[in-house]
């Protein structure tokens, strides 16, 4: 039963170039269901962070949303985010949809106590709230993310990396949004701390019915956390589907190769083959399928025409001409 | 599998010597500065002053120090075809004094400025790199010199050293340079030290250390080149302030009576009551010249930092 809380349709984001716009996000569409975790996977430069920032309308000054729609389902009906002004967005940001930024150290104000920063977020939603109520809520939020309430009066630098990430999550939850977008939430963390933070996210999702859009290059983290995944390359989604199906029998050569970079313990003890070349320059992308210069399956048809996502399985889409592909992940392993 | 000897020969030949590379780099920087309007103004003004400094004595119709220049009958004359900037209270040609002033002002400014920069950078690098007691000691010293009030200190130094003026190189002018250098280095140290503190934690310094680099090696090849941009930008300002400082000292009568800097000319002018007499031709030219010269350096300083990163070299 489909109950999408966030719908992105044909999103194009870019910046002006000499001969027209240079696109970093080239027609991205997906649906995030209520209470679902969707992973947006890809390498740096593929446009995944830009997509998140475009949804939140927090794009850097040079970038702009060129076309496409972003719809958020709230208690008061559908909100067309791309039509909102900055003021309109402020009503929506944090109260309906919030963002956990990459690199918590940069996103938290180093000269403000944590209680103040979370408190400010709460007051955003409820300007009338009295001080005691806010203080209580801050403590409650910190406890919710596994931090002792007494630490509310501390400064960000007094927390370790993992703890700071939890503070960021508490901040994102302050106004009880429906959707949380998490951009590389665990990248700089140790394996154990990462597991703790992911478990926390999972717990919160269950208890609060949150929908999570998890953006990361780490396919393994997505496999452990998300029910569905969308793999991005050079600005567009090349494959999307249920996580276990996509990672068990990937239907796009890029996904296949990418999986090779996440070897399975217990599988083959050999280095996966390298993907030749480098990701393309958005100002001068390859024609047709943007992956074709690096693709082991490329044929002439690949560099003509548009690549669009087509269904190749049960709720499983691929942008590859040759899908459905029989081959399992290159250098995957049998558990 | 080693590369071929042809490759080695080619690579050997393709490398320019360090001096050539520095010159090419400097030319690029100058061009980059000149491209910006502010930078162009600065460079042209400085070039004019340098030209005046070099050619001044040759172009000057008169030698102000020569006794033949005195002409009391024609004192305080307004500009005329004979004397383009009029005459002073002794009948000497002011245009000649103006031309000579360029030379003295420039030399004093440059020497004092560069000395400050060198001392300041050296102290800053040592303090920032070694940390610990060296840092504490040097920063303590730096704090003192930073708060030193320029004018009283200058007066004190000038008064103390006046009797030994002959034994100090450069004489009275040398004392001025000394005073300016002593009061000027502390600001550079502060900026350089801050930069070095962050630089020494950078991973490329750690890497060099891991490959066996000594402290001197790291300071010379890793710290110094990365600190040079702000040192240059700061030096330009210090040269400007030194020129101003020299003018100030001369204006207060602490200058070298035997040399004609723009500041000295101003001093003489005020002593001679030029303002009261409405003798604008006496004080205005040197005043404007100092102002423009200092502004020119500030303008170049403003532009210089952005122009000297390797990225900018490709632009």
């Amino acid at each position: 039963m489909s109950d999408p809380v966030l719908t992105v349709d044909d999103l194009h984001v870019g910046y002006p170039g000499e001969e027209g716009d240079i696109e970093i996000v080239t027609g991205v569409s997906f649906e995030l269901q209520r209470g679902e975790a969707l992973g947006l996977a890809g390498e740096s430069g593929c446009g995944k962070t830009t997509t998140a920032l475009a949804i939140m309308k927090l794009l850097a000054p040079g970038l702009r949303q060129i076309s496409g729609t972003v719809d958020l389902q709230t208690a008061n009906g559908v909100v067309h985010l791309q039509k909102r002004t900055e003021r309109g967005m402020r009503d929506v940001r944090w109260t309906e949809i919030s963002l956990v930024f990459q690199g918590a150290i940069g996103a938290l104000d180093p000269v403000q106590r944590v209680s103040r920063q979370i408190g400010d977020a709460i007051r955003l939603h409820d300007p009338e709230a009295d001080r005691t109520a806010v203080r209580e809520r801050v403590k409650e939020l910190l406890e919710r993310v596994g931090i002792s309430g007494e630490r509310a009066s501390q400064y960000p630098h007094e927390f370790s990396g993992g703890m700071r990430q939890r503070v960021m999550i508490a901040l994102a939850l302050a106004c009880e949004p429906e959707v949380i977008i998490a951009d590389e939430p665990t990248t700089a963390l140790d394996v154990m701390t990462q597991a703790q933070v992911l478990a926390l996210l999972e717990e919160l999702r269950r208890d609060l019915g949150l929908a999570l859009l998890l953006i990361t290059h780490d396919l393994a983290v997505i496999a452990e956390t998300c029910e569905r995944v969308a793999v991005m390359y050079a600005g567009s989604i090349v494959e999307t589907g249920p996580t276990d199906a996509v990672f068990a029998v990937p239907q796009h050569p890029y996904t296949q190769r990418l999986l090779g970079a996440f070897p399975l313990v217990g599988g083959e003890r050999a280095l996966p083959p390298a993907i030749p070349g480098t990701p393309p320059d958005p100002a001068d992308p390859p024609s047709g399928c943007r992956f074709h210069p690096r693709c082991h399956l490329a044929r002439e048809a690949c560099w003509h025409g548009e690549m669009a996502l087509r269904p190749v399985g049960d709720d499983h889409d691929s942008a590859c001409l040759f899908a459905p592909l029989q081959q399992t992940a290159v250098a995957g392993g049998v558990r | 599998m080693a590369v071929s000897s042809e490759t080695v020969a080619q690579l050997l030949g393709s490398e320019r010597g360090p001096l050539a590379r520095w010159l090419v780099g400097a030319v690029r920087v100058v061009r980059a500065i000149g491209r910006r309007p502010l930078g162009a103004f600065g460079l042209i003004t400085i070039a004019i002053v340098v030209a005046l400094a070099l050619l001044g004595p040759a172009l000057a119709p008169q030698d102000p120090l020569a006794s033949s220049s005195f002409d009391f009958a024609n004192r305080m004359q307004s500009p005329s075809s004979a004397h383009w900037l009029g005459t002073d209270e002794s009948g000497r040609d002011l245009f000649s004094q103006f031309l000579l002033g360029a030379r003295v002002s420039l030399i004093v400014g440059l020497v004092a400025g560069i000395a400050s920069a060198v001392i300041g950078a050296a102290v800053g690098i040592c303090a920032g790199y070694f940390g610990g007691w060296a840092d504490r000691g040097l920063t303590f010293l730096d704090d003192w010199f930073l708060v030193l009030p320029f004018v009283p200190f200058a007066v004190l130094m000038a008064a103390l050293l006046q009797d030994d003026a002959e034994s100090i190189p450069g004489g009275q002018t040398g004392i001025i340079v000394l005073v300016l250098a002593i009061t000027g280095w502390a600001g550079t140290t502060r900026i350089v030290r801050a930069q070095v503190l962050s630089l020494r934690e950078r991973q490329f310094v750690e890497r060099a250390r891991s490959q066996g680099a000594s402290h001197v090696w790291i300071m010379r090849r890793h710290i110094l080149p990365n600190v040079m941009p702000i040192v240059w930008a700061n030096t330009v300002l210090i040269v400007a302030l030194s020129v101003l400082g020299e003018a100030g000292l001369s204006y207060f009568g602490l200058g070298d009576p035997d040399s004609f800097s723009w500041g000295t000319v101003l001093y003489n002018g005020f002593q001679a009551g030029a303002i009261n007499q409405g003798a604008w031709w006496y004080v205005l030219p040197p005043g404007i010249a100092i102002t423009l010269f200092v502004l020119a350096f500030f303008a170049v300083g403003q532009v210089i930092d952005e122009s000297s990163t390797p990225q900018a070299r490709r632009l």
Binding site: S44, D190, A223, P263 | S210, Q211
Partner: protein, 331 residues
């Protein structure tokens, strides 16, 4: 797997201790490490931040002197003078290629630098540097010689760093998370390069990583470190498929995988790695250990044989059985 090797290991640590003073407190960064780094093998060091892996790397490079215990290099005990030779024989590849190259130096200068330090004459220097560049995959050398780091991609920068490490023709290469700062699709290229160099030059490789999957596919032997000690050591297959120490078991269980297995959540340890200046009593892992018993809080434990031949674990109750009741954590 070979028996006791007749060839001297490149480096050998016995009871190695390295301590620092930080704000008046003693930090035992390495607290009794026994390890052999053998020629022509890839040794993996796995652990979280604070485990001492960086200090171990620095000590093997000669940047830190042992406070106690013994470090032998090519059979000779290391002293202060010996550290200088060490700097030539062991080179390091750092994690972040965007930070480990001086942005103001050209590729040619970067790669020649270690050779200049040794006083090598120019012709020979250029030959070695150009060769190292091409061996690192940046061929033809002329094309990259005059470039600056900002003109290169992440993968290329890391290759420059590798070339700079290769130029002095070291016997061993310490790689600290050599690919974690690179794009995923570029990682395999650099890893293939490292393995290829090991084969071509007979290098000993020490790979420091937190990535279990990487350790699995690349390493011959793996050492797991926790708070300054090696808590488990053995072949990659033994340690990663049949871990004996509860910490290793937890690490492997929580390490995310593209084919998730059940039970991962159960292995998440509470809290964080304690500060190295306040080591727990007894076994340093006991406050977080799901299997800890009384003995663990009282008696410290060093590596003991456990599991396969050649495998050791620093645990009183190693093995694959289920956890026993937990001891209340101290502090």
């Amino acid at each position: 797997m070979p028996l006791a090797s007749a060839v001297t290991p490149l480096a050998e640590a016995r009871g190695l201790e390295v301590t620092f003073r930080r704000r008046g407190r003693v930090v035992r960064a390495l607290d009794g490490v026994d390890l052999e780094w053998r020629q022509d093998e890839v040794l993996g060091v796995v652990g979280e931040s604070g485990c001492g892996k960086t200090t171990l790397a620095r000590t093997l490079l000669g940047l830190e002197l042992p406070s106690a215990g013994e470090l032998r290099f090519e059979g000779e005990v290391l002293d202060r003078g010996g550290t200088r030779t060490l700097r030539r024989k062991v080179q390091m590849v750092f994690q972040d290629p965007y930070q480990s190259l001086n942005p103001r130096m050209r590729v040619s200068e970067l790669v020649q630098e270690p050779l200049r330090m040794q006083g090598m004459p120019r012709g020979e220097r250029i030959l070695r540097a150009a060769t190292a560049l091409e061996d690192a995959g940046l061929a033809p050398a002329e094309r990259f010689w005059h470039r600056y780091p900002f003109e290169l991609s992440g993968g290329q920068r890391q290759r420059v760093a590798i070339a700079s490490a290769l130029a002095p023709e070291p016997a061993g290469l310490v790689c600290d998370e050599p690919v974690s700062a690179l794009d995923v699709s570029v990682r395999a290229q650099v890893l293939h390069l490292l393995l290829g160099l090991r084969r071509a030059r007979g290098l000993a490789l020490l790979l420091i990583t937190h990535d279990i999957g990487l350790a699995w596919s690349l390493c011959d032997r793996v050492a797991v470190m926790y708070l300054g000690r090696v808590v488990e050591l053995g072949t990659a297959a033994d340690v990663l498929e049949r871990p004996q120490h509860p910490y290793t078991q937890a690490l492997i269980a929580v390490a995310p995988s593209t084919r998730p297995r059940p039970g991962g959540r159960a292995a998440i340890l509470e809290g964080e790695v304690p500060d190295a200046s306040r080591l727990p009593s007894g076994c340093r892992f006991h406050p977080r250990c799901p299997r800890a018993r009384e003995r663990c809080a009282e008696e410290d434990v060093g590596p003991r044989p456990s599991g396969a031949a050649g495998q050791t674990a620093a645990c009183w109750y190693p093995g694959m059985e289920r956890p026993v009741r937990a001891v209340a954590p101290t502090a």
